[in-house]
């Protein structure tokens, strides 16, 4: 068993109707029923989830699409006021595949979040999981310090070789993204088993671990039953010695002061 601190970050993708609109179109006359799962986020999902975080004293990094911030400015301000880090998450659930206008959407969302919270976001995550090296370069140009889209390392690493000098990758872990399992209709017990096994082995090796949650009902963790799963799991993690839960921005600080390893 390795020694030292196991750094853990809980991230949230604040994905509401931006996802459903990307899938089904932007005609509000059709945003009902199965084409409107995303409404759950702003109606009850975020409130329940962030209430849970408050009762647990847990600070997350919350990735916010620009469009969601325009629709729900009070919600985003409230999340920031609770002490969560606000980071950027594209404008409205678009792919980043070097199509025309992508750099404008990055800048637009950057402006929306900066105006709303009074501070420029330092981190970004691709809303659909797709990005290009040019996306990273554009983010570096806007002054971003980190990306959290990749799923390819046990530790943070520098993004020089990927076209974004000065930026750091804070990688996700695929199977620790709730949507990966819940979108495939995993039961609570299956998710619990997966996360426990993957996390405990990662903890034994003291690698960097990032969880990703979504405040939705369909593929997220916002239903009461799923938050109960999260509560049990969080209790287990917190009972372990040498676990330190940090936001992404705090993880950067830990890299700077040498407590968290970062690959060159």
């Amino acid at each position: 068993m390795a020694e030292g601190t196991c750094f853990v970050t809980f991230t949230v993708n604040l994905q509401g109707m931006s996802v459903d609109r990307a899938l089904h179109g932007d005609n509000p006359a059709k945003h009902f029923g199965g084409k409107a799962h995303g409404r759950y986020m702003a109606s009850i999902g975020a409130e329940r989830m962030y209430g849970f975080f408050r009762s647990e004293g847990l600070k997350t990094t919350t990735f916010v699409p620009g469009w969601e911030a325009e629709q729900h400015p009070e919600l985003v301000r409230a999340i920031a006021a609770e002490g969560h880090e606000i980071a950027a998450h594209g404008y409205a659930h678009e792919d980043y595949t070097n199509a025309a206008g992508e750099a404008d959407l990055l800048a637009k969302t950057h402006g929306i979040l900066t105006d709303l919270t009074g501070a420029a976001p330092r981190g970004w995550r691709a809303p659909t999981g797709l990005l290009e090296h040019e996306t990273l370069a554009a983010l570096a140009g806007l002054g971003y310090a980190y990306d959290a889209s990749n799923q390819d390392d046990d530790f943070p690493y520098r993004l020089e070789a990927d076209g974004a000098p000065g930026m750091i990758e804070l990688p996700q872990t695929e199977i620790l993204i709730d949507a990966e399992l819940y979108s495939r209709r995993a039961t609570h017990s299956k998710l619990r088993k997966w996360w426990r096994e993957e996390f405990m082995a990662a903890y034994e090796e003291r690698i960097y671990v990032q969880f990703t949650l979504t405040p939705r009902a369909d593929f997220g963790s916002a239903r009461a039953s799923r938050l109960a799963v999260l509560k049990d799991f969080l209790d287990e993690i917190r009972a372990l010695p040498d676990v330190r839960i940090v936001t992404c921005a705090e993880a950067l600080g830990c890299i700077e002061d040498g407590t968290l390893f970062c690959r060159a």
């Binding site: 691709a126 797709l130 290009e132 799923q151 390819d152 399992l181």
Partner: protein, 292 residues
């Protein structure tokens, strides 16, 4: 028909290297970001899983093999070998076998391009290894008579892509080549990580239980256990939890005292020295044409 069923073909037994009841091979299909590059995907974001192989997964398997005292066969696509020559050299330096696995993990029939592609990866691996690779596994399962002819002409001695048999055997064709490949079947339905971590999303502990049942059944038939893992995340077995169950599985098998772990190359050489014992009765199977 009763004669056919009485032939006992599924329970035929062989002597194995090491003199144990069974033989086992741990095969590690490197599958770095060549797979995404081959599919015209940028290996970032949700398509970045292949980058885990070189950075984390392969080093973890090298340490695991040392710990368990076994040598493995690493199938390395040419593109990944070009990007990570030092890692390929380290795999060799630590006593493992390198075998060929396509250039960018072509999971399709490359058609007329195939001989040139096989030659390309062959020419990348040979100087890195200091000798030519002797084994090949299809990336994704595509294989034709063209593949077999080309592999034979390049000097390969075994293929590990067939799914129609439990035990090693001498290939039937092609008719226009005197040399025949040894076929070391790979079971991509049940002894591969992909179907569980990608198709059925089964947690590692249940995959371990499944593979232990596979082992016990193969052990009861004195057979050949050929496990395929991918050192990446996503569909692969690169993460600490998933490497952990490989450790548990191999230890469980070793504790039985009934198995020797070898490389596929060692097993192929064993079979070549006993070609008659590994012949199949093609007339009885009535398959027609070229085979395996």
């Amino acid at each position: 028909m009763s004669g056919r069923l009485d032939s006992g073909i599924t329970t035929r037994t062989h002597e194995w290297p090491g003199g144990k009841r069974c033989v086992a091979v741990l095969t590690v299909d490197f599958d770095g970001d060549c797979r995404e590059v081959g599919r015209k995907e940028t290996p970032l974001g949700k398509n970045s899983h292949g980058r885990y192989s070189a950075k984390c997964g392969v080093p973890r398997y090298l340490d695991l093999c040392d710990e368990l005292g076994i040598k493995a066969t690493y199938f390395v696509p040419g593109y990944d070998a070009e990007k990570h020559p030092d890692l390929v050299r380290e795999i060799i330096a630590r006593g493992h076998e390198i075998a060929a696995h396509g250039y960018v993990h072509e999971g399709w029939d490359p058609g007329e391009q195939e001989p040139a592609l096989l030659k390309k990866s062959h020419d990348i691996l040979t100087p890195l290894m200091g000798k030519p690779p002797r084994g090949w596994r299809s990336p994704g399962g595509s294989k034709t008579e063209v593949t077999m002819r080309t592999l034979i002409d390049l000097g390969y001695v075994y293929d590990s892509s067939e799914k129609d048999y439990d035990l090693p055997f001498t290939a039937h064709g092609p008719a226009d080549r005197e040399n025949k490949l040894i076929t070391l079947p790979n079971n991509v339905s049940s002894l591969d990580d992909y179907p569980f971590y990608r198709v059925s999303y089964t947690p590692p502990s249940e995959v371990l239980a499944h593979w232990k049942e596979e082992w016990e059944a193969i052990r009861a038939e004195n057979g050949f256990f050929d496990l395929t893992v991918h050192p990446r995340v996503g569909y692969g077995s690169g993460s600490p939890a998933r490497v952990g169950i490989i450790r548990d599985l191999v230890k469980h098998m070793q504790d039985s005292g009934d198995v020797t772990f070898v490389t596929l190359e060692e097993l192929a050489d064993w079979c070549i020295a006993r070609r008659d014992a590994f012949a199949r009765d093609w007339e009885q199977e009535n398959i027609g044409g070229t085979h395996g």
